[in-house]
Symmetry: C2
Subunit: 404 residues, 2 copies
């Protein structure tokens, strides 16, 4: 698959994280000639927290992860992830497949099952050929390496056109703490826990409750603020492991929280930049709404509107469709108080196009790759910013033919 035109120049040079080792193999779950299973082994004492899809039809591995999140146990832990098959809507067979994988992984790695977190991503409703995965566990174990994170990022890709990674370092009391994360996702990306799969690792020490709070709060401001197609996955999973190998406790440390949120935002933006068929990265900024909830409604109405997204694909500064989306959002709005901008270009105010507006100037702006659409509502202090991409022919091609 051709790499997204919005992809970063290269996968970032990610630091190793004390207490974490990675491996990836080709198990042939669905794809041929590529890696499709990744293992992350986590040192004794690692804290694991997670955020999951809110879908009512979530997958067997998600249900299993949820039941284990926050549980007791301080021994070694592991994340095992396959691409090619999501093990979602697979009936009783789904839970049995998770159990079979956990059992063999536990035996092969000597890790208790309650500390094994598995994810599956790919096609829905086909039985997961779990024996292809378990047959590779010895090979995975023998391949574990502290610098295998890029290989892990590649193994979890499905329709992604580039692997996604991000890192941050924070100095706490003169000591350095490192965070590294990887993500996959490019379709079925919507507000309720947008990204399909995200794994973040740090050598910081932090307890479960504090780590879970950071993750949940950060998700609301990052992954829950991106949308590619308004569709919500059955498999969305964000797992974070804090190994404590740095010896630095970051509980309550604001810089760590900020660095973690920055890393989550970076990964969230990379997911949008790999939105299926995307050629434009679009930030939608709403201010002056009656409240934050209304601002988010307007932002999402714009970001999810097929008519807005196709206009962006056509490099058409069609601000009438922005007005339409504001109107349909369900948020309080006064047509004559709206101030609409493309980048710094004032487009509309006082219920009509601005006297200073130049269609030629706006059309030139729309040819850019990174765009900002902002709307001031003129009603209150409510704010929201979300990120999306355009809707192109390529999205149709990818999704009309995904299974064939």
């Amino acid at each position: 698959m051709t790499k997204s035109p919005l992809a970063p120049a290269a996968f970032p040079a990610l630091p190793t994280i004390g207490g974490v080792r990675f491996a990836a193999v080709s198990a042939g779950v669905r794809y041929k000639n590529r890696t499709d299973v990744m293992l992350a082994e986590l040192a004794e004492g690692t804290t694991v927290a997670g955020v999951y899809t809110t879908s009512a039809t979530r997958s067997a591995p998600v249900l299993d992860c949820q039941s284990k999140t926050g549980g007791p146990g301080t021994g070694r832990a592991a994340f095992l992830v396959n691409s090619g098959n999501s093990n979602a809507f697979t009936g009783r067979n789904g839970a049995e497949a998770v159990a079979a994988i956990c059992q063999v992984t536990a035996a092969t790695l000597g890790i208790e099952e309650a500390r094994l977190f598995t994810s599956s991503t790919g096609v829905i409703g086909e039985p997961l050929p779990h024996d292809r995965i378990t047959a590779k566990l010895s090979e995975l174990r023998d391949a574990l390496s502290v610098d295998g994170i890029e290989g892990a990022a590649k193994a979890i890709m499905t329709t992604d056109t580039f692997p996604k990674g991000s890192a941050a370092t924070v100095t706490v009391g003169g000591k350095t703490v490192t965070i590294a994360g990887i993500a996959k996702g490019s379709g079925m990306i919507a507000p309720d826990m947008a990204t399909m799969l995200v794994y973040i690792f740090t050598d910081a020490a932090i307890g479960f409750d504090a780590l879970q709070a950071l993750l949940s709060q950060g998700t609301d401001r990052t992954f829950n603020c991106i949308t590619v197609d308004s569709d919500t996955s059955t498999s969305d999973t964000l797992l974070m492991a804090a190994t404590g190998a740095s010896g630095v406790d970051v509980t309550g440390n604001a810089e760590f929280a900020s660095a973690l949120e920055g890393l989550m935002m970076d990964l969230a933006h990379q997911v949008v930049r790999d939105g299926e068929g995307a050629t434009k990265f679009v930030e939608v900024q709403i201010s002056g709404a009656a409240n934050d909830g209304d601002a988010r409604k307007v932002a999402m109405a714009i970001a999810n509107s097929p008519l807005v997204k196709t206009a962006i694909a056509g490099e058409d500064p069609n601000w009438g469709r922005i007005v339409m989306a504001v109107g349909k959002s369900g948020a309080e709005a006064d047509r004559d108080k709206l101030v609409i901008r493309f980048g710094d270009i004032l487009v509309a105010e006082n219920g009509w196009v601005s006297p200073s507006y130049s269609e030629a100037q706006a059309a030139a702006y729309m040819k850019g790759q990174d765009l900002v659409i902002s709307v001031e509502m003129g009603l209150g202090a409510g704010e929201s910013t979300v990120w999306t991409c355009d809707l192109t022919h390529r999205y149709i091609e990818i999704n009309a033919d995904y299974r064939s």
Copy 2:
């Protein structure tokens, strides 16, 4: 523009309606070489009722119509509609344009302004060149004819690929009452008053309150149950005129109500069949939901999902995406109780694909033009049926280039 493959074979032979005359002209509002303004003149005593978009950014003509609906006055009335420009988000100029049109129309036709209902459909945010319309009013008046309804249906088209009409007759107390309606709409079609413009005429006699109640209730079961792209127009308008020329009062008559709803459903389905880029007409039936509201949430989540709609375009029986859409809908759902069918083909039950399911059989079904997707939720008695179309390359083409 190529006619939709889902279009009816021909425009139906619509009956004349006593008390209604039509005319259409080419005013050059935006388009060249086609009619773009229609006038319907309504006899003295005609009852007019209307249903309008719920958009917070609705257009100047919609606001004007709303202010006049249900008002006093029993003299002649008229509907005047232009395509090419929606007169939406046009600031103070918008209301001034409506006033100018009403003033000249009143003077030319001798109809009081309170009985003049205007609509505009087309591009948003550009000043309506109302003088091009008023310059044609004498010509419109002189062209009025009882059999001009097909011409009227053509004059209100924008991205429509075929004119839409429907008729019904009802026998009440041995006398015949006739109803005829026309509609336009193919994009920006969403649940809140789906069709952009609909005009219905009958020679029945009925008071305003009774007629308005029939329209509002019928809209909820017809136009509010269709969706092409989840976008809501700023201009949606449904106007109905009952001239009373038949001398038959239909207040409280169940057969008239049923015939009217059938006509509205026919027009609503024609709008979906002209959905921008549509190649498949899809009925989504939900039953067994906890309540009707939940059923509608599930139906709309399926009907609006870009992943479901692109799969249908690709003739892919991708039932996993149906499961995904049920899960994201926000409705109560039990994954293991869902029963999913494509037409009569049982696809999934007991939380997994049915043992009897044949992908080849389902793939053959998906090659049809009219498709039914049904989901039994297994929870209660909630039901909902909605109609949509597939999402194709052509939708992108039409909407990425609409203004150029």
